[in-house]
């Protein structure tokens, strides 16, 4: 089973997204701070990391940069999401593969996860989802 690390400091949103991901058959660990995220990432080697940008006590982009320096996370897909559209550029520069602007449709959220984790996933171009291609 694919393992996802979900980092979001709004606990209500974290809970909702956690249940959505579980329903799609992924194993999810939901944490709400940058420190917890880095600690968790050390313990378990996750297949996908989903990060919010503005976390209490940290920045999702810094987390992404730190992860990228870790050998185990060099190629792990990272999705960054934020309610601030202007951080898109810096998020992608920090090492994220994709950016998701909040609020989003659940369909887009689930599709983005599937794009990185499900080898059989076929992308529906009419839904206008533009995942950032892997740079590595």
């Amino acid at each position: 089973m694919k393992r996802i690390l979900l980092v979001e400091d709004n606990r209500d949103l974290l809970q909702a997204l956690q249940s959505v991901i579980s329903e799609y058959g992924y194993q999810v660990n939901a944490v709400h701070s940058a420190q917890e995220a880095l600690k968790e990432a050390k313990n378990v080697n996750y297949d996908l990391v989903i990060l919010d940008v503005f976390l209490s006590g940290g920045d999702g982009r810094t987390v992404a940069k730190t992860l990228r320096r870790n050998e185990d996370y060099e190629e792990t897909p990272i999705i960054i999401m934020s309610a601030v559209p202007t951080v898109k550029q810096s998020s992608l520069q920090s090492g994220a593969d994709a950016f998701l602007s909040k609020p989003f449709d659940l369909v887009d959220f689930v599709e983005k996860i599937a794009y990185y984790l499900d080898p059989h996933f076929s992308h529906d171009s009419s839904r206008m989802v533009y995942p950032n291609p892997r740079t590595v």
């Binding site: 949103l13 909702a16 601030v84 202007t86 909040k102 609020p103 449709d105 659940l106």
Partner: protein
């Protein structure tokens, strides 16, 4: 004293008069001791004007008013010691004119060496002496002209020429002040002043005096009427009465205008008696010299006024004014920078002016490449430029600087450098940064709850569909629609703020218009249950534009949403794609309430709301079309509206296509 011996000797002298006249212009003899003229030749008569009768028996020194006294004393001593003397003396002729003579005195003796009398041979050297004197005047006066301030020159020169004996008096009539100055310490009759005042009062009203272009020379007062370019009745008589003998009028011309007239005069019994042509020439030269010096000083004062004006302007400009010259190796060297730069950054002006590209050496390393590029671009485009970068102060801290510049061309149109103003904008940038932080925070704080709300609503929607709880699904879709509406409002506010700060970031890419818009319209069509979106494509599938896909989507969504919103009675919106002369035309046509013609110019303004939207029927912030136009402008395109009240509206976006 042996009178017979003297007479005998004089007879011999008279006999050789003809021979002696080759050596001298005037010959006479005077007695020893009392200096009484005892012999007066015809040539002496001719030279001094006195005839034999008038001269014989007179004391020679009184008759000829010989001088100067110190010379005479030395001459006497020399004569006593050596038996002769030779030197220059000034004598007065009968008509009052001073003549200069080279005088030779010889002590005549009899055979046993007894002194008998003195005979004098005089050669007239007046011409040489006056020429020499005049030249000396000229040299002295010219040096005076050079060292004086403009306003003092004319008067000082007039005074100097009069006291040194170039003339007997000099009057200056100044045009601007209409003042009448006399310079004379030779006891000139007040009548002279009166006469000249009369002249001025008679001619100045018509400014006749100022018409004398090259000066006027009146060698004898009898000829004044023929020499002056204007006639003043009674002037000749007046001048004659005041014993004026000759006059010279010299205009002082500055920048084509006569500003003053100098009048030099001689009086009978004065120092000079009558002006020669040489006097006139010297006076003209002096006038020219005064004029050219005046002009030079005037130009200097004009320049310094201009400079002062510029400098005071530079001082009041908020910021640092600078000018730089493009140097050979494509760098720049400052040729001017205002003193303010020292208090701003702490580096002395000299450092700015002596170090090539100094402005780059103190620039924040992250900004250097952009700044260099901006300068290169500006040199190519020749347009005014605005640059924003950080400069390091002497204390090591950085300030934000806005550099506005224009290129400088020389007379031949060749690019030589730049000039402009540098302003410290640190405070503004910091405020902008604070504003940025606030906007980002507000965006985050407002949207996160909406995002959470939306996710739960969608989860609920999914659950209801799974459990078959259909009756309440419509409630959820309304919740979701309102959540999207809030999101759009927040985005609009953010966009307006970013546009105002010039911070809306664009990421342009090639877009195939037909594919892009077809799928967008299909997606939108699903959203609007009340209206059918009809897309009419009359362009090739391969037509591409350079656009930011998200922004272009935002524009189309905005226009289609407006079209649906403002046509509540209609059931369709027409979207057409056309191309014309390399331009893409996207038209969105609705059949709704329309926009009154008087509002066509205002619809793209910020916070514009139609009158119908004010009554609460149509909600919104009135910024949608403002943002739309901004985005289209940034795509080098344009947007136009055609509409009539009650007859629907059509908005057309025109974008350049690429190959």
């Amino acid at each position: 004293m042996n009178q017979d011996a003297i007479q005998e000797n004089l007879q011999q002298l008279k006999a050789s008069e003809k021979t002696l006249s080759i050596l001298a212009d005037g010959i006479f003899a005077r007695s020893l001791g009392d200096n009484i003229v005892i012999y007066w030749s015809k040539s002496a008569h001719k030279l001094y004007g006195f005839n034999e009768k008038e001269a014989i028996g007179k004391v020679k020194f009184q008759l000829l008013q010989s001088g100067p006294a110190d010379v005479l004393q030395r001459a006497d001593e020399h004569l006593a010691k050596h038996g002769y003397w030779k030197g220059t003396l000034a004598h007065k002729r009968k008509d009052g004119e001073t003549i200069y003579v080279e005088s030779t005195w010889i002590l005549s003796k009899d055979l046993d060496n007894t002194p008998l009398y003195i005979f004098e041979l005089s050669r007239n050297i007046t011409q040489q002496v006056t020429n020499r004197q005049i030249t000396t005047f000229k040299d002295e006066v010219f040096s005076t002209i050079k060292r004086l301030p403009r306003r003092e020159i004319v008067l000082q020169v007039a005074s100097e020429l009069a006291t040194k004996g170039f003339c007997d008096f000099c009057v200056v009539h100044h045009k601007l002040t209409e003042k009448f100055y006399t310079t004379s310490d030779k006891g000139i009759s007040p009548l002279v002043t009166e006469a000249l005042k009369g002249l001025f009062s008679r001619v100045q009203k018509r400014e006749l005096l100022y018409e004398i272009q090259d000066g006027v020379y009146v060698p004898a007062i009898e000829t004044i009427n023929e020499n002056l370019p204007f006639s003043v009745p009674g002037l000749k008589a007046l001048l004659k009465k005041s014993s004026v003998t000759s006059l010279i009028f010299i205009p002082i011309r500055v920048a084509e205008n006569t500003t003053a007239v100098m009048i030099f005069g001689t009086v009978s019994g004065g120092n000079v008696s009558v002006f020669s042509g040489n006097h006139f020439k010297v006076a003209q030269d002096v006038g020219d010299e005064i004029a050219s010096r005046n002009e030079q000083l005037y130009l200097q004062s004009q320049l310094s006024t201009e400079r002062y004006r510029l400098e005071s302007l530079v001082e009041t400009v908020p910021g640092v004014v600078w000018e730089a010259q493009k140097s050979m190796d494509s760098g720049q060297i400052m040729t001017y920078i205002s003193k303010d730069i020292e208090s701003l950054l702490g580096y002395p002006v000299e450092e700015w002016l002596s170090t090539p590209d100094f402005w780059l050496t103190i620039m924040h390393p992250e900004d250097v490449v952009t700044a260099r590029k901006a300068v290169e671009t500006q040199y190519k485009s020749d347009k005014p430029g605005i640059n924003l970068f950080r400069w390091k102060k002497v204390d090591g801290t950085f300030i934000w600087v806005e550099l506005r510049s224009i290129t400088v061309l020389d007379e031949s149109g060749k690019l030589t450098g730049m000039r402009g103003v540098a302003t410290d904008v640190t405070e503004r940038i910091e405020k902008d940064e604070q504003k940025d932080i606030f906007i980002n925070m507000a965006s985050h704080e407002l949207k996160t709850p909406v995002a959470t709300l939306k996710v739960y609503a969608q989860l609920l929607e999914k659950k209801m569909k799974e459990t078959g709880d259909f009756p309440f699904l419509t409630y959820l879709s309304k919740i979701l629609r309102q959540a999207d509406h809030i999101t759009n409002l927040i985005n609009d506010l953010l966009n307006v703020s970013r546009i105002e700060q010039g911070k809306l970031v664009y990421q342009f890419e090639r877009i195939k218009v037909v594919g892009f818009l077809s799928s967008l319209i299909r997606e939108l069509d699903l959203l609007f249950s009340t209206h059918e979106l009809r897309l009419d494509v009359k362009i090739s599938k391969n037509i591409q534009v350079l656009a930011d896909p998200e922004k272009l989507k935002q524009v189309v969504v905005n226009l289609v949403t407006n079209a649906v919103k403002y046509s509540p009675e209609a059931d369709c919106v027409d979207i057409s794609l056309r191309s014309n002369k390399g331009k893409l035309h996207i038209t969105i046509q609705d059949y709704g309430i329309g926009i009154p013609k008087s509002d066509h110019g205002k619809v793209f303004e910020k916070y514009y709301r139609s009158e119908v939207s004010d009554n609460g029927t149509f909600s919104g912030l009135g910024v949608g079309l403002f943002i739309t136009k901004e985005i289209i402008n940034k795509h080098k395109g344009s947007i136009t509206v055609k509409s009539r009240k009650g007859a629907g509206s059509s908005f057309t976006i025109i974008l350049p296509t690429i190959k």
